[in-house]
C-alpha cells in the first residue's frame, strides 16, 4: 500500500508534536500535571484527589488508545483480508458497561473520603491562634472548625478590586480594619472567608490556598484556608466581571501571628489618623465652604 508510509509520517509527527508540547520545558513536572498546591491543607488535599483521578484516567486513556492503535495497525485493509461480520456481543457490552460504572463508584468513594478534609475547616494551631481567633457560628453552607473558632474575614468583590474586612472584637462593623487587594493573615491560623460581591459576580481564587468560590451579589459564599508557611500567595478574580477582569488581582501575605497583630494595629491607627485629618478638613469646610482643604 503506497499510502502506508505517509500515514506513519502523520502519526509520528502528531505524537512528536504532542510530546514536545508536554516536555518542551524542564518545569517541575508535578506542577505541570496538577493544580497548584502547597499553601494550605485543603489545596493539598485537592491536589491528592486530582492525582488519584489522573492516575485512573491515564490507565483508561492508555487502554482505549492502545486498543484503538492496535486495531488501526492490525486490521488495516490488506489484499485478501475479509472483515469479520460481527454485529455485537451482549456479554462483552454488559461487561464494559459494568466496568465503567465500577470505575465511577471508585471515583465517587475516593471523592467522598476526601471531601470533609477539603470542605471543613481545620482547627488553628494552638500556639498561633491565641488572641487572634474568635468564635464563629456555622449556618447554612458555612462550615467552621471543630473548636468553633477561626479568624473570619469578609471578602467583598467589586469592579475591579477586592476589599477585606478584618474582625476587631466588637459588634460594630463600621469601625473594623480593612484593606484592598492584599490580605494579611497569620500563619497557622484557620481563616474562614465570607465572600460577597456588590456589583457583578466575581470569584475568589488563590490557587495555592485552595479552590475558588464565586462572589455573587445577593449571596454569601464561604471557604477557608490555613496557611502553612509565610509568604505571598497570588491569585485573581476567576469570574468574568467586565473589561478589567484580568486586572482584578488578589494576594494573601502570610506573616507570623505577632506581625499580624501589629498589622491590624497599624490599620486601626491609620484609619484613626485619617479620620482625624478628615475631621479637621470638615471643620475648615464648615467654617469656610470656599476653602481648599
Amino acid at each position: 500500500m503506497g499510502l502506508l508510509p505517509r500515514r506513519y509520517i502523520f502519526s509520528l509527527a502528531a505524537v512528536a508534536a504532542t510530546a514536545a508540547s508536554l516536555l518542551v520545558t524542564p518545569a517541575a513536572m508535578a506542577d505541570f500535571f496538577s493544580p497548584e498546591s502547597g499553601g494550605s491543607p485543603n489545596a493539598n488535599r485537592i491536589d491528592t484527589l486530582y492525582w488519584i483521578t489522573f492516575a485512573i484516567a491515564m490507565v483508561i486513556f492508555a487502554a482505549v488508545i492502545g486498543t484503538l492503535g492496535y486495531c488501526l495497525v492490525k486490521f488495516r485493509a490488506r489484499k485478501g483480508a475479509v472483515a469479520a461480520q460481527i454485529h455485537g456481543n451482549t456479554r462483552l457490552e454488559i461487561a464494559w458497561t459494568v466496568g465503567a460504572a465500577l470505575i465511577l463508584v471508585v471515583l465517587a468513594v475516593v471523592t467522598f473520603a476526601a471531601l470533609p478534609g477539603i470542605r471543613d475547616p481545620e482547627n488553628s494551631d494552638a500556639a498561633a491562634a491565641a488572641g487572634i481567633v474568635q468564635p464563629v457560628a456555622a449556618h447554612g453552607n458555612k462550615k467552621v472548625p471543630a473548636d468553633g473558632k477561626a479568624l473570619n474575614i469578609d471578602v467583598n468583590g467589586q469592579q475591579y478590586i477586592w476589599r477585606y474586612t478584618y474582625p476587631d472584637g466588637d459588634d460594630n462593623n463600621l469601625n473594623n480594619p480593612f484593606s484592598y487587594t492584599e490580605m494579611v493573615v497569620p500563619v497557622g491560623v484557620t481563616v474562614t472567608l465570607d465572600i460577597r460581591a456588590q456589583d457583578v459576580a466575581h470569584s475568589w481564587w488563590i490557587p495555592k490556598l485552595g479552590g475558588k468560590m464565586d462572589a455573587v451579589p445577593g449571596y454569601t459564599n464561604y471557604t477557608w484556608f490555613k496557611v502553612i508557611k509565610p509568604g505571598v500567595y497570588h491569585g485573581q478574580c476567576a469570574e468574568l466581571c467586565g473589561r478589567n477582569h484580568a486586572n482584578m488581582i488578589a494576594t494573601v501575605r502570610a506573616v507570623s501571628p505577632a506581625e499580624y497583630k501589629q498589622y491590624i494595629e497599624r490599620l486601626k491607627n491609620d484609619t484613626k489618623s485619617a479620620d482625624a485629618a478628615a475631621a479637621v478638613s470638615r471643620k475648615k469646610l464648615d467654617a469656610n465652604p470656599q476653602a481648599n482643604p
Binding site: R7, F75, G88, L104, P217, L240
Partner: protein, 573 residues
C-alpha cells in the same frame, strides 16, 4: 405518502401509481430566485451547510485574534473591550451559528435520504428554519458595526444587565438566541415528524440509521431545552429595558436564577452539539471498516440515555456558586452517570474497528481524530465533575481545554468526517484525498498543540476570559505554544476549504456510491434528483445498501465473475 405501494425490489416491474396530487405545475425557477424560494430539503441543507461554515470561518478568525492577543504576556494588541467582544462573539458564533445548525444542515440533507423519504414533512417550515437562522446570524453580526456584546456567551447577570452592559450588542445577543432558537425549534419539530412518519417501508425503529437516531434525539433535546433559554433571555430583555428585576439583586432578583436557567439549556446544548457528531461517526466507521456497527442497539440506546441524563447535570457548571453540598453531590453523581453511556459508545466504536478491514480514507481518519480527542475530553469531563477538583480548575484554561476537546476535537472533527464522507453525495464529485489527509494532519497536530497545553495553563492559575496575563513562571511560553498551534489548526481548516472549492467543479465524478456505503442515501444518484428516489426499496436491515449490493451481485453473478473476479468479493465476507 402512500409508501405501501412501493415495490419490494427496484427491479420488479410496477404500474405507475400517483403518490402526490399535483394542483398545478410549478415553473422551475433559476439561479438566485431558486435558492431564495426553495423548499427542497437538499437545497436547504446546502444553504445550511454553506452558511454555517461561513460563520465557522468568522468564529475561527475571532479565535485566532484571541490567540494573537495571548501570544505574549501583557500584550497591548487588543483593548480589553475588543477582547471581551471577541470571545463573546467567538463562543456565541461557534455554538449558535455553527455547531448546532450545521448538524441541522447534515440532518436536512441526509435524514430524508437515509430514511427513503422524498422531502422533509413540512418543506416550507423547513425553509423558514433556515431563514430564521440566517436572520439571527445577521442581527448578531450587525452589532459589529455598533457595539458587539461583551458579557461572554453565557451572559451572566448582573454583568449583562443594562447597568453594566448598556450597549445594544447585548440585545443583539438576545435576539440571536430568540431567532436561532425559533429556527431550531421549528426544525426540530420537522425532524421529529419526518423521522416518525416518513420512513421507508420496512424501516422500523430497529433499522433506523444511527445518524438518524441521533438527529431524532437532537430534535427532542432542542424541543425540551430551547423554550427555557427563550424564556430566560426574554426575562433578561425585560430586565434590561422595562425595569423588571428577575435577575437584578438590587431589586430582589437572583443572578443564580439566570445561571440555573441558562445551564438548564446550556448543558443539553452540549449534547445537542455532539450527539449528531456521534451519529456521523457511527455511520462512517462501519463503512470504512467494512463491518457492521458493533452493538447497534447499545449505540442507539446510549444516545437516548445520554440525552435523558444530559437534562439532569446542568448545575455542574455552578460548582463554585453558593450552593449546598447536597446539590453539588447530586450533580457530580449525575455527571458521573453520563460517562457510562458515553463510554459504551467509545468502546463500541473501537470494537467496530476490531477485525475489520480498515480503509484509511479521509473520513475514517477524521473519525480516528475524533475518537482519540473526544476520549481526552471525556476523561477531563470526569475530572471537572468531581466538584472539589472543579473548585481548582473551574473558569480556568483547564475548562477551556476540556470543552474544546469535546466540541472542537469531538464535534468539529466529526463534522469534518461528515464533510469528507458526504461531499461526493452532495456534489457528485470526490474531494482530493491527499489534500484531505494533509488537512487532517495539520488540524490534528494544531488542535492538540493548541489545547493540550491549556490544561496546564489553567492549573497554573490562569483564568479564562482574561485579556492579559503576567509573565510569571512558564505562562508566556505555554501560551505561545498554544498560539502557534492555533495557526497550524487554522491552516489545516484552510486546506479543507481549498479542497472543497477545487473539487466542487473539478473533482473526479463520484458516482452514486463511491464508498460502498450502508445506508439509503447511496442508493440514489449523486447529487440526488429533486424527488430523491424513483423507487424506494423495502428495508430488511440496518444496512439496506449492503443488502441491495448483495442482491445485485447474486443476480449478475455469472457476468461479474467473468468480468472482474476480485472487485466485489469483499462484499460477501
Amino acid at each position: 405518502m402512500a409508501s405501501d405501494t412501493l415495490t419490494e425490489t427496484p427491479t420488479a416491474a410496477l404500474k405507475p401509481v400517483p403518490e402526490i396530487t399535483a394542483h398545478g405545475v410549478q415553473r422551475q425557477r433559476s439561479g438566485l430566485m431558486d435558492w431564495l424560494t426553495t423548499t427542497d430539503h437538499k437545497k436547504i441543507g446546502i444553504l445550511y451547510l454553506v452558511t454555517t461554515f461561513v460563520f465557522f470561518i468568522l468564529g475561527g478568525v475571532e479565535a485566532l485574534m484571541i490567540r494573537l492577543q495571548l501570544g505574549t504576556a501583557q500584550n497591548t494588541l487588543l483593548t480589553p473591550e475588543t477582547y471581551n467582544q471577541l470571545f463573546t462573539m467567538h463562543g456565541t458564533t461557534m455554538i449558535f451559528l455553527f455547531v448546532v445548525p450545521i448538524m441541522a444542515g447534515f440532518g436536512n440533507y441526509f435524514v430524508p435520504l437515509m430514511i427513503g423519504a422524498r422531502d422533509m414533512a413540512f418543506p416550507r417550515l423547513n425553509a423558514l428554519s433556515f431563514w430564521l437562522l440566517l436572520s439571527g446570524g445577521l442581527v448578531f453580526y450587525a452589532s459589529i458595526f455598533f457595539t458587539p456584546p461583551e458579557a461572554g456567551w453565557t451572559s451572566y447577570t448582573p454583568l449583562s444587565l443594562e447597568a453594566f452592559s448598556p450597549s445594544g450588542g447585548q440585545d443583539a445577543w438576545i435576539f440571536l438566541v430568540h431567532l436561532t432558537g425559533l429556527s431550531s425549534l421549528v426544525g426540530a419539530v420537522n425532524f421529529y415528524v419526518t423521522i416518525a412518519n416518513m420512513r421507508a417501508p420496512g424501516m422500523g425503529w430497529g433499522r433506523l440509521p444511527l445518524f438518524v437516531w441521533t438527529i431524532l434525539v437532537y430534535a427532542i433535546l432542542l424541543i425540551l431545552a430551547l423554550p427555557v433559554i427563550a424564556g430566560a433571555v426574554t426575562l433578561l430583555l425585560t430586565d434590561r429595558h422595562f425595569g423588571t428585576g428577575f435577575f437584578d439583586p438590587t431589586q430582589g432578583g437572583s443572578p443564580l436564577l439566570w445561571q440555573h436557567l441558562f445551564w438548564f439549556f446550556g448543558h443539553p446544548e452540549v449534547y445537542i452539539m455532539v450527539l449528531p457528531g456521534f451519529g456521523i461517526i457511527s455511520e462512517v466507521l462501519p463503512v470504512f471498516a467494512r463491518k457492521p456497527i458493533f452493538g447497534y442497539k447499545a449505540v442507539a440506546a446510549s444516545s437516548v440515555v445520554i440525552a435523558f441524563l444530559g437534562l439532569l447535570v446542568w448545575a455542574h457548571h455552578m460548582f463554585t456558586t453558593p450552593s449546598p453540598t447536597v446539590v453539588l453531590v447530586f450533580f457530580m453523581m449525575s455527571s458521573f452517570l453520563i460517562a457510562i453511556p458515553t463510554g459504551v459508545k467509545i468502546f463500541n466504536w473501537v470494537a467496530t474497528l476490531w477485525r475489520g478491514t480498515i480503509e484509511f480514507k479521509t473520513p475514517l481518519i477524521f473519525c480516528i481524530g475524533f475518537l482519540s480527542q473526544f476520549l481526552i475530553g471525556g476523561i477531563t469531563g470526569i475530572m471537572v465533575a468531581i466538584f472539589p477538583v472543579d473548585w481548582q480548575v473551574h473558569d480556568t484554561y483547564f475548562v477551556v481545554a476540556h470543552f474544546h476537546y469535546v466540541l472542537m476535537g469531538g464535534a468539529v472533527f466529526a463534522i469534518f468526517a461528515g464533510i469528507y464522507y458526504w461531499f461526493p453525495k452532495i456534489t457528485g464529485r470526490m474531494l482530493n484525498e491527499p489534500l484531505g489527509k494533509w488537512s487532517f494532519a495539520l488540524m490534528f497536530i494544531g488542535f492538540n498543540v493548541t489545547f493540550l497545553i491549556q490544561h496546564t495553563i489553567g492549573m497554573d492559575g490562569m483564568p479564562r476570559r482574561v485579556y492579559e496575563y503576567p509573565d510569571v513562571g512558564h505562562l508566556q511560553l505555554y501560551n505561545q505554544i498554544s498560539t502557534v498551534g492555533a495557526f497550524i489548526l487554522g491552516l489545516g481548516i484552510l486546506l479543507t476549504i481549498i479542497n472543497v472549492l477545487r473539487s466542487v467543479k473539478k473533482g473526479p465524478v463520484a458516482g452514486p456510491d463511491p464508498w460502498k456505503g450502508n445506508t439509503l442515501e447511496w442508493f440514489t444518484e449523486s447529487p440526488p434528483p429533486l424527488n430523491n428516489f424513483d423507487l424506494v426499496p423495502r428495508i430488511r436491515s440496518v444496512e439496506p445498501m449492503k443488502d441491495i449490493r448483495r442482491e445485485v451481485e447474486r443476480q449478475s453473478e455469472p457476468a461479474l465473475a467473468a468480468a472482474s473476479p476480485s472487485a466485489e468479493s469483499t462484499l460477501r465476507g
